[in-house]
């Protein structure tokens, strides 16, 4: 606990000393009368000042919430000694707003009394938010001395992004060996009819196509496409963001990533995550609800960290990027390092789709002058960058945030379909 004297203590002490000395010098009892009240305030203040023995802690009714949810935080403060005036302040992190309750608040505590202050908080933005610290400042009745302390324990509130529900996602070109919802191009055991072929020893009787066999006077069997799972890597660019007000390109990217992860995990695909930025994070592809929670938890810790270190895709462990995986990148394409990494991925043969979380709406065009020219050049360079990625074979779609994610995915799907036909 930090103790300090208010400026009033020094001022009253100085006034009392000067007053009494002047009274002695001039020999006037009236000056003693002018000084006596300050001397009395000083003495009373120091006599009544007792160091408080305070206990403060903060509780939250739940540790996890969705964006837009309201949670209740409770600040519990108790004191073994009387506190004449206690200022209490719970610092709220950016992304958590106060809806109801008083913060900061000044109150009085009797000896042994415990007070609970309830605060209704709005989880406005996704992220792992640490509530507090809760600062307390106790003062003596005259306000000459003060004691400050803070609650060391800070509860964490993990706010998950509220994601869109996606009806259809991007289908990877290649499937994997495990069962899933994606119809494979290969032939094997499955439901989707693929072709017919002559019977071979070992073929099951149920696969015999009797109509074709009767026509050809020999046994022919049906072939089908098996349903397989796919590997999808969600690539979040956290090198840079464009922010205006409470919204940023990273917010959009994180929400979209959560929605995509949810959709792919529901399809029983293996989903991995790469957060490529100042802090590099990755999650090895996995499947199931546990993997979904892992991804969302990892996303909550995503933040923009300034870094000048040149990172290449080589720094990512090989098993994080399985061969023939679909890489869905969400990037504002603001940093050359992430663009370089995406081009590198494409050059290595990965099936790449890029959702350009456009920073353009976050930077309004200046009305006129050189700034307007610079803005136009910047947007043209962005177009050129997207074109460069498209020439490299990556499907790119610009997302300005005002359209649903599903619409952007459809744009990417149509590009991929068109690109496939063109190649044939």
């Amino acid at each position: 606990m930090t103790r300090y004297a208010s400026p009033k203590l020094a001022a009253y002490a100085a006034l009392s000393a000067v007053g009494l000395l002047t009274a002695l010098v001039f020999g006037r009892p009236e000056l003693v009368a002018l000084t006596a009240p300050f001397l009395l305030a000083l003495a009373a203040g120091l006599a009544l000042a007792t160091p408080p023995r305070l206990t403060v802690h903060v509780e939250v009714d739940r540790e996890r919430a969705l964006e837009g949810d309201e949670v209740t935080a409770k600040v519990v403060v108790s004191s073994e000694t009387p506190v004449d005036r206690l200022d209490l302040y719970l610092r709220l992190p950016d992304g958590v707003d106060l809806v109801e309750g008083r913060n900061p608040v000044a109150l009085h505590l009797r000896a042994g009394e415990q007070r609970e202050l309830e605060l209704r908080l709005l989880a406005r933005r996704w992220g792992g938010h640490l509530l507090g610290p809760a600062y307390v400042r106790a003062r003596d009745p005259i306000g000459l001395r003060a004691w400050e302390t803070s609650a060391t324990a800070r509860p964490e509130l993990r706010v998950y992004p509220r994601e869109d529900v996606l009806r259809r996602v991007l289908q990877p070109r290649e499937t994997q060996v495990f069962a899933g919802n994606e119809v494979s191009r290969r032939k094997g055991e499955g439901i989707e009819f693929a072709d017919i072929r002559p019977w071979a020893p070992g073929d099951a009787l149920k696969r015999v196509n009797w109509r074709a066999s009767a026509r050809r006077s020999e046994l022919w069997v049906n072939e089908s496409h098996p349903e397989r799972n796919t590997d999808v890597i969600l690539f979040v660019d956290s090198f840079a963001e464009a922010r205006q007000g409470g919204v940023s390109t990273l917010d959009l990217a994180v929400r979209a990533t959560a929605a995509l992860a949810d959709a792919y995990v529901t399809r029983r695909d293996r989903v991995g995550l790469i957060s490529f930025g100042g802090i590099l994070r990755w999650l090895v592809p996995g499947t199931g609800l546990v993997q979904m929670y892992r991804i969302v938890d990892a996303l909550l810790d995503t933040q923009i960290v300034l870094s000048y270190y040149w990172k290449e895709i080589d720094v990512i462990p090989r098993r994080t990027l399985p061969p023939s995986a679909l890489v869905v990148a969400l990037s504002p394409l603001l940093d050359d390092r992430s663009v370089g990494a995406l081009l590198d991925l494409r050059a290595r043969g990965y099936d790449l789709a890029v959702i350009d979380v456009s920073p353009v709406p976050f930077a309004p065009r200046p009305a006129s002058g050189l700034d307007a020219v610079a803005y136009d050049v910047w947007t043209l360079r962005r177009d050129a960058l997207r074109h460069r990625l498209q020439r490299a074979g990556a499907a790119v779609a610009e997302w300005r945030g005002d359209t649903p994610l599903q619409a952007v995915l459809e744009e990417v799907r149509s590009f991929r379909r068109y690109a496939r036909h063109a190649r044939v």
């Binding site: 009033k8 002695l24 009892p29 009368a33 002018l34 003495a43 109150l107």
Partner: protein
């Protein structure tokens, strides 16, 4: 025609006015360090005004309390932060504390000036020691009551 006493009184009034202006400036600009200087100037103005006269001025008891009142209210004003929601009971308690302090100060001052009025002239040192003793006694009582 101005006498010496009138001249001193006008200087005292000017000092008091400067003190008041300084206090106002401090409140407007939220400078807490102007409060003791304003009190000092006002007290100096009173002293200068009283230099020509002999005898003990009974109004000094009230003036001392008024100086403390202005200093306390000014401190309260500067400390006030509109963002901090103070409970009504806390404000009442603080007001009661201030009133009690001022009443005690007035009582001490009346005792002091009463003693000075009947005592031998030139016994200021004795009075000052007496005030310090009285204040100390009050402090001890308060401390014991707090414990």
């Amino acid at each position: 025609m101005w006498t010496n006493g009138d001249h001193l009184a006008s200087i005292g009034a000017v000092l008091g006015a400067i003190g008041l202006a300084l206090l106002t400036l401090g409140l407007v600009l939220r400078w807490p360090m102007t409060i003791p200087w304003a009190v000092l100037l006002a007290a100096a103005g009173y002293l200068v005004g009283r230099l020509g006269s002999s005898g003990v001025d009974g109004w000094a008891a009230l003036i001392g309390v008024l100086l403390l009142t202005s200093a306390e209210l000014a401190s309260w004003s500067l400390e006030h932060d509109a963002r901090i929601h103070a409970e009504p009971a806390l404000i009442v308690r603080r007001l009661a504390t201030l009133v009690a302090l001022l009443a005690a100060a007035l009582f001490v001052n009346f005792l002091l000036l009463g003693t000075a009025g009947v005592g031998a002239p030139g016994s200021v040192l004795l009075i000052a020691v007496g005030v310090a003793a009285a204040v100390g006694a009050i402090a001890v009582v308060l401390r014991l009551a707090r414990a």
